[in-house]
Symmetry: C2
Subunit: 265 residues, 2 copies
Amino acid sequence: MIIIGELINASRKAIGAAIEGKDAEAIKKVARDQFEAGANFIDVNAGIFVGEEPAYLKWLVETVQEEVDAPCAIDSPDPKAIEAGLAVHKGTPMINSISLEKERYDKLLPILAGTDLRVIALCMSDEGMPETVEDRLKIADKLVNGLIQKNVKVENIFVDPLVQPISVNNTFGVEFLDSVEEIMKRFPGIHTACGLSNISYGLPARKFMNQAFMVMAIAKGLDGAIMNPLDQKMMANIIAAEALAGKDKFCMSYLKAFRAKKFEV
Amino acid sequence: MIIIGELINASRKAIGAAIEGKDAEAIKKVARDQFEAGANFIDVNAGIFVGEEPAYLKWLVETVQEEVDAPCAIDSPDPKAIEAGLAVHKGTPMINSISLEKERYDKLLPILAGTDLRVIALCMSDEGMPETVEDRLKIADKLVNGLIQKNVKVENIFVDPLVQPISVNNTFGVEFLDSVEEIMKRFPGIHTACGLSNISYGLPARKFMNQAFMVMAIAKGLDGAIMNPLDQKMMANIIAAEALAGKDKFCMSYLKAFRAKKFEV
């Protein structure tokens, strides 16, 4: 599972304040905590600061990479902000995210063309949010083929099929899960990654439901997640599900997690 | 999820003693507890009592059905024992189980032919335990087609694809899960049901792993389980997974379970 740690997001109150106050130590702590908990990418988002996003993203990338030896997921739809982050980034970051919405697509494709950048390809178009497997696959086909034509390698693409709440429609869980399975089959070598917590919107016991949905998604082939890696129960569920999905040779990670008492949370 | 409560099994020490001592109250309590916890069938097994199995199974069926208004799963490979149980059973029980092992198959098929009995069809043959999806589908095809030819309705068949431990081979979880999916696709209307705990044999934190595997199996279409319905964490996971799998209209069961504090265990 490729984990994109989502905590450095300006829309979270403490993070927004830390960014505005240039509190590097606060940002570094959240970066380190996520990295030590297993994050493969550290997401950086300064989206709330209109006009200042490029400068803040640059500072975030620098600050995070002073602390941890991990790539960032540069979380913005704005090419100027992305390029400001890219200019100072060491190694190969992820762009979060391109979509099929025309303006976003046209602006981000040139940045990605011919690079080794990882990219989240969000199944969203100007026609709105997809609901069925067919809706999602139609968008995913166009996005993936568009990226491949611009020499983006399939293994650098992380399709986000977009989770919608089952409280709105009982079939939304299945439509998402079947989309993951179909995308992983249709494009060998591709990844799928997304935030899952929207699934339980409007329902109680959300954390419990989110954990079950993560485990189900792993059963269907999901191999990436935009999440809080400090959520120990979620991480324990991921470790067990990956062992069960045959992705943990000799159950080494599972056994290591057991010895670290990770199943006792 | 169709739940077959597994606790009335003579190989469990307290149950073996209760059967031998004809302690009807002890058996009735276990029957009632499982029924109230959500069991749809009460499994009865007196397999350890060689020669006395027919008499004991008859007594078990009578005792259970004096207490709860639920069908039994008559758990024996012996036609005499099954017929003794059937003779006193009210309603339509399940037979646990037929397999493709020649002796068992030939003896049980006439009992099932043309009836409305539910039956667990175990993916096992005289060639041994199946390992791959292909192994399982080969056996399932023969079993299901054999039963259908003898006028057993497909919706009364519960295929058990047979769980094997991932500690033996890392792929055994995936082979099982993909078998569930393929069986459910290949025979519309059929059920899959099995005990899952073997998956974690030889590993630590087995309960945690078993819960994750149940959730994954539900994602792949599993709709039956031979299990301990008094395992509250497992039941909570099943309720959440079924809601996420679109099998819980308006999330009614999920919301009811939340109000009953079932996610707080």
